[in-house]
């Protein structure tokens, strides 16, 4: 005996040691299960709970992969009995915490009864944070957030709690459970989508079963129950417990005596935890007093009731159908098969064929048979023959009376059967007529339509051969809207054929009289001729033309359907606003190069007017600057002084010298003045984040770029490492991740070099600058000749500014081609380099997704470069946009979002101004771009909450900007320094430099526009928020009061 005890102890220690080691846990557990009696199993599991971090609370919502949780691997499943034993042991080990969880869950259940969703949220947060993080808790949190605060709040919560770019199982789960389960989704499509996406997402069978179980809640079969339990033992005891409760519900319904032992054990655990659901489940099911006795009696009763229904059509039909469904659910498969046969016998009497209710019941029978497909009995029945009988009936008798139609409508399952029948009989038009009639009478019928069958049936050939029928277009639209979005092209095809039938190319040309307009006409114009469907049409070569057609359609609808005129007016307004925004964004793209004429004019009056007057005095005195002398002076002015002596040399011709001085100084100020010159705009609108965002975006969208730390070291690419790991080995994946870090570094070098060397005014320090402001000799001589006869300094300045723009335009023309060639060659080199590194690293097949991503990035980059080059022109359009302040803010935000694809702030604008503004586009967007760019860079969040309040105060619009900030204390010092400089007016040196807070630039934007000022900005530590308050002054003629 002592020997045996020692052996056993050794085995325990060995098992425990194995349990500590990675990858041996399952084996250890299996050995434990094989060796130890049941009572010892509990002890081992309890020890395992303490040894592993698996069941500790607050380990976070998002382990990157379930298999990485340091716990029992879920790769193999034990028989259900053993999984269940482990489950019970785990729950036993967590008894105290389970009770705490159930107590709080009970509180939630109470609150839910009164629909008090908001108060549930702190409780579920306590469960998740203090007791145990679980998918069940996550589910509940997501649902409650949606119910209490709406869909947007739910989306925001999900995104703020998601990690790792949404690639983890947990994020997948949260996304589908939250966003994709929004109310407007068709449940069938949701279910179908989930199943297909789960297969695409997950790498193993266990994850498949687990996700499907949670997201689509199918019935748990015995073979999947073990998998689910196994999976849940790797996550949390709360999930495990809830799976047991769900399992119990299914077991109870199945009435299988073999699973009684599971039931008793789970009920016992529920009772000990004081779960309110225990009382309900322990007396379940209320429907059948005895599982053994009910089928026979119900079966005989059924025959009588069917007889009754058939003799008096529709009587009690709804109640009977509901009862049959419940009955079918509670029967096991064998009994269900018997019931099918018995019901079929009741229906076989030939005299009853042709009766409407007969076919309804028959359909119900056969559809239930489909549910029981795994049965031997059901398999023996030819379902198709049942349906073809139904089909034959409706194909030959498609002349419904009004009463039939009403009956049909009320018994919606019938519609399903008839639709399938008609489709099988190739009676597409009849079928579409039936569906569209019923749908337009009551849209709830959609849930009963066999959309999948319709999707298969409505091929191009079918649509083509029944072209011209409005009903075909309506049904195609229903399939698209409620089943497959990618059916849009077919809807458009059906609509096009309908238009052709009526001899028009555009829906707005349809001739429909108000007196004779039908519901179908309205539906066609409203829904089928939507902007979305029109985008498939070949009639509109651009978005603008398509939107214009939609506006014409909406005007037509306003006349034909005045009851909904307001809805159509709203859509027209939305389209017009969208067009305004697009137009404004286009204007802004072409307004990046600028200088401030008015401040420079004032400066010239102060500094240069005396020289100008002296120049004219010399000319009046007979000393004109001969062309040859002027040439010499121009040449001298373009050369840097060779030594100090030259500064004191006597000019060969004083008038010529004065003239070149004036031109030289004006040119310098227009180009390089820190506040008003072109260089300050290059810094504000291009160098400060815009170029970098534009050139990095295509590669960022493909997750190819990483960032550097404070020492300049670029991090390895984790996204591609994880993505490639399943197909390759760790060392190769790691090598690729390193290559991509290097790729990011040289990519950023090209971007930074381009920004700092090319997007500049050309000087000795920046010889590659694209803007060469120096005039040619001919231009100066010609301008000098004009100036002899012009003594008006302002006219002279007008002429100069005109000439200056001409020179800038000329230099940009050359610069664009240089830039295009430079960027293409630099980036081509980088992409070729990374491609060759990848080819050396490993097998082609394993990195095809990465190569595709590089191709996408390269192609996108070409477009980005083309767009960037188009910005490098002098402004071609005058700002004629008249916009609401709210729109102006949205434009500023949109400009930043376009450059940073992951930046999606939750923007709330509170606009009390009730006005539209003219001439405000540039000012607003310059200011708002800086603010949003700052939020993007420094908030530490991809989806920060940004609140903007707009108020009118006399002739001022006050803007209060507040943005959430993750670590405000990190920015306090920098912002305080910037604040000091701005309010001491000591910031002009920083306007044309990049990096930093951007506030000197903001102060410059607000100040020089002379219509506004930066009132204050800073950090509000208490609210963890950054704020900025601005004021825009406006003239009366710049404001347009909103029309009622």
């Amino acid at each position: 005996m002592p020997v045996s005890k020692k052996r056993k102890t050794t085995k325990h220690i060995q098992l425990k040691n194995q349990f500590r080691g990675y990858g041996y846990r399952l084996r250890a557990l299996n050995e434990t299960l094989a060796l130890l009696p049941q009572e010892e199993l509990n002890n081992i599991i309890q020890w395992a709970v303490h040894a592993s971090r698996l069941f500790k609370p607050s380990f976070g919502y998002a382990p990157s992969k379930f298999s990485q949780i340091d716990a029992i691997p879920s790769t193999d499943t034990l028989p259900l009995e053993k999984e269940f034993a482990i489950t019970c042991a785990i729950l036993e080990a967590n008894k105290k915490r389970l009770k705490n969880y159930v107590n709080l869950k009970n509180e939630i259940e109470d609150l839910l009864e009164t629909q008090n969703f908001a108060d549930c949220i702190p409780i579920i947060d306590t469960i998740n944070n203090d007791i145990c993080a679980s998918l069940t808790g996550l589910n509940l949190r997501i649902s409650l957030t949606g119910l209490a605060y709406g869909l947007e709040a739910q989306k925001s919560w999900i995104s703020s709690h998601s990690l790792d770019n949404g690639i983890t199982t947990i994020n997948f789960f949260a996304y589908w459970f939250g966003v994709r389960s929004e109310k407007t989704q068709n449940p069938e499509r949701f279910k179908e989508d989930v199943v297909s996406k789960v297969i695409q997402h997950s790498a193993d069978k266990h994850t498949d079963i687990f996700l499907r179980y949670y997201l689509t809640a199918p019935k748990i079969e015995a073979d999947t129950a073990a998998s689910i339990l196994s999976y849940k033992t790797t996550f949390s005891f709360v999930d495990l417990y809830e799976a047991c409760v769900k399992f119990l519900q299914t077991l109870t319904a199945s009435q299988d005596p073999k699973v009684e032992k599971f039931k008793k054990r789970i009920l016992c655990i529920m009772s000990e935890a004081s779960d309110l659901r225990h009382a309900k489940l322990s007396t379940y099911p209320p429907l059948l007093p005895s599982a053994e006795a009910k089928p026979t009696s119900f079966q005989s009763e059924l025959s009588t009731r069917i007889e009754k229904c058939l003799s008096v059509p529709q009587e009690e039909l709804a109640a009977l159908c509901a009862e049959l469904k419940r009955y079918a659910f509670c029967l096991d498969n064998t009994r269900f098969g018997s019931w099918c046969d018995a019901t079929a016998e009741c229906l076989e009497a030939p005299l009853k064929a042709g009766n409407h209710t007969y076919h309804e019941l028959r359909y119900l029978n056969s559809s239930h048979r489909e549910n029981g497909q795994s049965l031997h009995q059901a398999q023996a029945v030819d379902d198709a023959s049942d349906l073809s009988t139904v089909a034959a009936f409706y194909s030959n008798n498609y002349t419904f009376t009004e009463k039939d139609k009403t009956n049909l409508f009320h018994s919606l399952t019938q519609t399903h059967a008839i639709t399938i029948s008609l489709m099988q009989s190739q009676k597409v038009v009849n079928c579409c007529q039936l569906i569209s009639d019923h749908y337009l009478r009551d849209k709830r019928i959609i849930h009963w339509l066999p959309l999948q069958h319709l999707h298969v049936a409505l091929t191009d050939q079918t649509i083509g051969s029944h072209g011209g029928k409005i009903e075909v277009a309506i049904v195609a639209w229903l399939v698209m809207e409620h089943y497959r979005k990618d059916f849009r092209g077919s809807v458009q095809y059906a609509a096009e054929l309908y238009l052709q039938q009526h001899g028009v190319a555009h829906p707005s040309e349809l001739i429909i009289e108000k007196d004779s307009v039908s519901v179908k006409d309205i539906f066609f114009l409203d829904n089928i001729c939507s902007d979305e469907i029109l985008s498939e049409s070949l009639e509109y070569p651009s978005e603008q033309e398509r939107q214009d057609e939609r506006i014409r359609i909406l005007f037509k609808l306003q006349k034909l359907n005045p009851d909904s005129a307001e809805k159509y007016a709203d859509e027209i307004t939305a389209i017009l606003r969208e067009q305004e925004l697009q137009g404004a964004l286009k204007t802004l793209q072409l307004s990046k190069i600028n200088f401030d004429e008015e401040p420079l004019r004032s400066w010239a009056h102060t500094k240069l007017k005396d020289k100008f007057n002296r120049f004219h005095a010399l000319i009046d005195a007979g000393l004109p600057p001969h062309n040859e002398d002027l040439k010499v002076e121009i040449a001298a002015s373009r050369e840097p002084p060779a030594d100090n002596k030259n500064q004191y040399s006597i000019p060969t011709n004083e008038a010529a010298s004065l003239f070149t001085d004036i031109i030289h100084e004006l040119t310098r100020e227009c180009s390089l003045n820190a506040k008003h010159g072109i260089n300050s705009y290059l810094s504000l609108r291009l160098r400060h984040g815009t170029i970098s965002g534009q050139l990095r975006r295509p590669a960022q969208e493909q997750n190819l770029l990483t960032t550097s730390d404070s020492s300049g070291q670029y991090s390895n690419n984790r996204y591609w490492f994880e993505k490639l790991m399943p197909q390759t080995n760790p060392s190769t994946a790691n090598a690729i991740a390193e290559h991509l870090a290097h790729f990011s570094e040289i990519y950023d070098d090209v971007v930074n070099n381009f920004t700092s060397e090319f997007i500049q005014v050309r000087t000795d320090l920046k010889p590659q600058g694209i803007i060469d402001p120096l005039f040619t000799e001919t231009m100066v001589i010609s301008f000098a000749s004009d100036t002899y006869h012009n003594k008006d300094f302002d006219k002279f300045l007008d002429g100069f500014f005109q000439l200056f723009w001409l020179q800038v335009q000329f230099s940009l023309k050359n610069g664009r081609e240089i830039i295009r060639a430079h960027l293409h060659s630099q980036f081509d080199e980088i992409f070729e380099l990374i491609s060759s590194l990848l080819n050396q690293t490993q097998n082609n097949n394993e990195t095809s997704s990465l190569r595709d991503a590089l191709t996408h990035a390269r192609s996108g980059l070409n477009d980005s470069i083309s767009e960037l080059v188009s910005w490098l022109d002098i402004p071609q359009e005058v700002d004629t946009h008249i916009l609401y302040p709210k729109q102006l803010i949205e434009i500023g935000c949109e400009m930043v979002k376009r450059l940073h694809p992951t930046f999606k702030p939750n923007l709330q604008i509170d606009d009390d101004t009730n006005t539209k503004l003219a001439n405000a586009l540039i000012l607003f967007t310059d200011a708002l771009f800086i603010l949003f760019e700052n939020v993007q860079k420094h908030s530490g969040l991809n989806n920060p909450n940004v609140t903007i309040r707009l108020e009118v105060d006399g002739h001022r619009i006050k803007i209060y900007f507040e943005s959430e900030c993750k670590s405000p204390q990190h920015h306090t010092q920098k912002i305080d320094e910037a604040r000091k400089k701005v309010f001491e007016n000591n910031y002009s040196g920083e306007i044309s430099s990049e990096g930093g807070t951007g506030f000197p630039k903001l102060a410059k934007v607000m100040e020089h526009q002379s219509s506004g000022k930066l009132v204050d900005f800073g950090i509000n530590i208490d609210k963890s928020a950054f704020f900025a308050n601005l004021e825009i002054h406006y003239m009366a003629n710049e404001v347009i009061q909103e029309e009622e």
């Binding site: 695409q200 092209g489 978005e543 993505k723 190569r851 070409n862």
Partner: protein
Amino acid sequence: MKILLVEDDDNKRSNILSEIENISEKNEIRSESSLISGLRQTRSWNPDLIILDMTLPNYDGNSGQSTGQMHAFGGREFLKRIRRLNFTGKVVIVTQFESFGESSKPISLEDLMNEIEVDYPEYFLGYIYYHASISDWQNKLISIVTDFGDKIENPNS
């Protein structure tokens, strides 16, 4: 022979054009850069051969206009739509991607082309994997276009 190139990538378009322009002076060549513009051109011009990209935007992006939605399977959509137009010519697909669709469950180029060959046998002339720095695609394209041109000129040979 009338050849229509439907391709949105500027570089790729220019490389393909420079190859096919040298094949025969008799060929008339046009190019479009989006699904809709390509289909409009097909409808109005009725080319003999279409060289088609697989991933296409809905509209041209000229003059800063939005290109609209990007169709990952734009080429397949194009084939479906030309059937509605009763197009009678042939199509060769030139793509620079090795897989298509969502990254979690992509379809390989080969599988996609097999599907297209089965679904659109009346149009499908073949496909070419394009890579800017590998010359295989040029030879294959020239060969397909030349052979098809010969067949049009000598339908009985």
